[in-house]
Symmetry: C2
Subunit: 127 residues, 2 copies
DNA sequence: CAGCATCCGGCTCGATACTG
DNA sequence: CAGTATCGAGCCGGATGCTG
């Protein structure tokens, strides 16, 4: 294991920007939620808007555009009346989705522990 | 596969806040880098500062504090002159580190594809 | 329905200077 | 060495109102 994370660390050190740049998708407050919500299959704009709850139209649009631009989302416009737009993951994004799922799983299982650590820290640091 | 991501999606929909809250560690621009850099074993403040390159003293300190507070980092102060402080991952953070490694791996392998998608998008959208 | 434009407040972050 | 303090710019993100 020491081998692999050394490689990763070197990638970060040598050229922090490129990797960070790509990882910024995940860094976005909403990106993970959008990607996971869109993984269900073709999802419409409004569905996403309600699925994520808390996101504004503006932020949703912005993130959608960025994810589409970077080849993570496919945007399909159905020229009907009323308009209908569907978003789905590209194969590349599906791989990312797998990682994301792991991340969310971690978050869920450790949430209590984190809350405890936080409380303990606040109690101690309050000298 | 459809089962697992449905569960995750429900977790996001039902209580987007808690999960997002935890995931915000990863969301931070620097968190991933810090966690990966600290995974080497005990790392000193200055080592981190140079390893991450681009981060300011302030941001490093802030992130370090937050990660420590949430039980992801252990901060060990050696009462020597000059002072010496070492950071290392908690077991909980080690698990997270595994996910992060996957993420970075994904980012590295798809960087070219993302760059291409971006270029293509910019070319097309420029009507 | 699925956006885009505009305004604007807040908080993040970087730069700089100082300390135990 | 390992931080803390302060200040100010900038971007993020919410609210609102308008279109095809």
């Amino acid at each position: 294991m020491s081998q692999s994370h050394t490689r990763v660390a070197e990638a970060l050190r040598d050229e922090a920007c490129p990797v960070t740049e790509v990882l910024d998708h995940v860094a976005g407050k909403w990106s993970i939620g959008i990607l996971i919500a869109a993984a269900h299959g073709p999802v419409r704009f409004t569905e996403l808007e309600r699925a994520i709850k808390g996101i504004s139209r503006r932020m949703l649009t912005l993130n959608l555009r960025r994810l589409e631009r970077d080849g993570l989302l496919i945007r399909t416009v159905h020229p009907t009346v009323p308009p209908k737009v569907e978003y789905s993951l590209t194969p590349m994004a599906r791989e990312l989705h797998a990682c994301l799922t792991g991340l969310v799983g971690w978050a869920e299982s450790h949430r209590p522990a984190i809350a405890r650590a936080r409380a303990a820290y606040d109690a101690t640091a309050r000298t």
